[in-house]
Symmetry: C3
Subunit: 150 residues, 3 copies
Amino acid sequence: MTKLTMVSLGAALAVAVSGCASAPAPKYVMMPGPTARPFSAAVIANGIIYLSGQIGLDSTGKLPPGGIGPETKQALENIKAVLALQGASMSDVIHCTVMLADISEWGAMNTVYMTYFPTNPPSRSAFGTQGLALGARTEIECQAVVPAKK
Amino acid sequence: MTKLTMVSLGAALAVAVSGCASAPAPKYVMMPGPTARPFSAAVIANGIIYLSGQIGLDSTGKLPPGGIGPETKQALENIKAVLALQGASMSDVIHCTVMLADISEWGAMNTVYMTYFPTNPPSRSAFGTQGLALGARTEIECQAVVPAKK
Amino acid sequence: MTKLTMVSLGAALAVAVSGCASAPAPKYVMMPGPTARPFSAAVIANGIIYLSGQIGLDSTGKLPPGGIGPETKQALENIKAVLALQGASMSDVIHCTVMLADISEWGAMNTVYMTYFPTNPPSRSAFGTQGLALGARTEIECQAVVPAKK
């Protein structure tokens, strides 16, 4: 083994090790659309996509009529859209927090929620709140893994 | 150094590096027992065990009588059981979120909670909710590290 | 290549690989000051700093007068101080959860909050609670990345 080879191998090993110790800088993903918000849509760090809580705002910036069912659906569609921007999907979601305007709507939320996670549902917590931004009935926050490159 | 050796080393280094960049697929752990729930008991991803929030349901599927004290104890026992399935224990817990039906029960929850973390307590947040699933007095969510293999 | 060299390289690769698979033990950071609390100020695991939720207690251990504005400011100053102990700053924060005593104070909280994250704001969720510890108007929980060594 030549000295040069030893050095190259040493460098390669150093990269391998430091690749573990020090992750790349976080990536901040802004919400598409004209409105400035005090949060990013998602931040990616250490292989995890940390999404902001999503309420059911539709493309016109309004909550859909009909309450908890339609709002749960729209919030999950918004999450799906943010994930898609990162090449990820609902099957990459590992954990969710479901905030409800009223815990009595837990069942109605679940009926819609479960259709988005037919297999391998994320771990989850859920609770009733004193109120949510813009009078929403639910806000849903998820974490997902960055999917392996194909 | 033969060409073959170089190739083998290259492959080994590639494994080392990609082992960092792309974590293994998440592992979904279902709750033991007959009831289907809209969440996994825990999901393991990137070296972290993300548990679902646990309320104090006992082995009969009921909340114990006596309110916040017994419910806190049972919720933490449930967390302990989910961790044990992964070869982990309460000393691997790094963060908890404590949801309370009434913030005035914060002290009573703490009295029980602290006995489960005698040293190195996890970081934590706690708040009062408008209500929890099944009328529980508390729901506790934890994250833990996957313990190092012995 | 000698047998010895092969063994050394094998060992180096094993370190590189296990450095990925098995992260160093979590680091528990206690809150400075005399009061024992049932939680650490922060726990560092897998490259992430998991902070406890902070309310706006000042150096005298009291909430500042003036409600949501001053309390938001003090809570964020407390977060900044815990991060600084780890060589991190507000620009390393990736995600926050904002708990409010009253969701109607969301706007007033935001006015102060945004000044702490002028660029690359963390992803975030926010909700109204039934109450917070010590009668606080807000509790803010953050996760941050361990900054790369300079």
